[in-house]
Amino acid sequence: MTPDTEVFVVQEITPNEAYEELQSSDAILIDTREPYEYVESHIDGANLIPPAMVADNIAEKVPDKSARVLVSCRSGVRSVTAAEVMMSMGYEDVASVAGGILEWQEQGLPVITSSALTAEQRDRYSRHTLLPEVGVDGQVKLLEAKVLLLGAGGLGAPTALYLAAAGIGKIGLVDDDIVDSSNLQRQVIHKTSTVGQSKTSSAREAIESLNPDVEVVEYNFRLDAGNILDVIGEYDIIVDGADNFPTRYLLNDASVRLKKPVVSASILSFDGQISTFMPYEGPCYRCLYPTPPPPELAPSCSENGVLGVMAGVMGLLQANEVMKLVLGIGEPLIGRLLLYEALGTRFTELKVRRDPACPICGPGAADVAESEMGQFPDYDAFCGGHVGS
């Protein structure tokens, strides 16, 4: 056994020597820096083990204690410490790269930089790229994602702000309304100075001043059977914050046809609901609600009122679903309906099953002929003419 007091003398080699060794032998390179430093630039083939993790993680990367191991860091200090730790664990052939990656680059040796992101983006999104679940690859996915928001109102406002901040590359906004002062109690993307302006242009201004990486597309009209397929076809994910049943059913039927996931939420007074509808993988909106309620059972926020923060809570739960879908991480609310009741601060989760008799996504639903695409029933009549505003 090695006594605790043993002093290890760490061999140091120059970057050029290290480069030669890595080219011509099986030497393993350990990069002992923090993830954000690694993301910025690293030596090709380097295995990242942050300083605090060396003792725990080295055996996984280097099971053979007789293997030749080179250790580098930023300037050559942390790598000596890590090499000492490894030697104390019985690693026999460890060397530290003197001067670290700074000296390595100084000598003109090659490194891999996160060319997928600009320097400004590396800085802006560093709290994302630090997360192993996101990383640079995940941030690139976000920057390439196209998300359509139905409604730039209560739910759409917080969703749009956070998705824009997260660097979602393209955000479409569907709303034919104009900003009213009664909206400002909850629709935080709009401002007193934009009252009277279209909601889409008001939201665009806010998004563009928050994050110039985001392309905003305005759809300053209502979705109907004639235009919905063209609009949603452009996007990867649809976020439903519509204020009326005809649009919700229309969106469901169109999104199932085009196999687009829909993150759907609604709010009323102190209550909210959210679920993610993934066509054919889980239930659709019609599996959950086969028919809309009659108008007297379907009051809108303008008739009943809504606590402003409800829009924030539910809108951000929607944004969270979008993030998970884009990144392919976690468990989206597929087949689950989450209810939030604000006065009791109570969350309730219900199971939602695919309905075998669903006329839209059930096994009995006929394949839709090309000529039928875009042909939808008269939803306004179907929903009792109730169109909230």
């Binding site: 209560g154 009326n244 309620p293 059972l297 926020c301 219900l350």
Partner: protein, 91 residues
């Protein structure tokens, strides 16, 4: 006694209650007990033929009674019956 959770749109018909204790051995009996306490909820829940309205979802705890035995689903005292309406508010 089983608890019935009342959704916002039905509370005006249930004297503002968010929860009601209602006795019954099945989901149907529990809902009938709710109706006898708050008669105004009847036409919101049931069609004139006595069937549950299609636009009303009823859950026993976290499961839709449609995938259980519907109104015949048996209910324990500790269960919660939830009436779930579709909501469209987004603005």
């Amino acid at each position: 006694m089983p608890t019935v959770r009342i959704p916002p749109v039905l509370r005006q018909h249930a004297d503002g209650a968010t929860e009601v204790d209602a006795n019954g051995a099945t989901v149907g009996e529990v809902l009938q007990a709710l109706v006898s306490q708050h008669p105004a909820t009847r036409e919101q829940l049931f069609s004139s033929g006595g069937d549950l309205n299609r636009f009303v979802n009823v859950y026993l705890n976290d499961e839709d009674v449609r995938v259980l035995d519907g109104l015949e689903t048996s209910v324990k005292d500790s269960d919660t019956v939830m009436i779930l309406p579709a909501m469209a508010g987004g603005q």
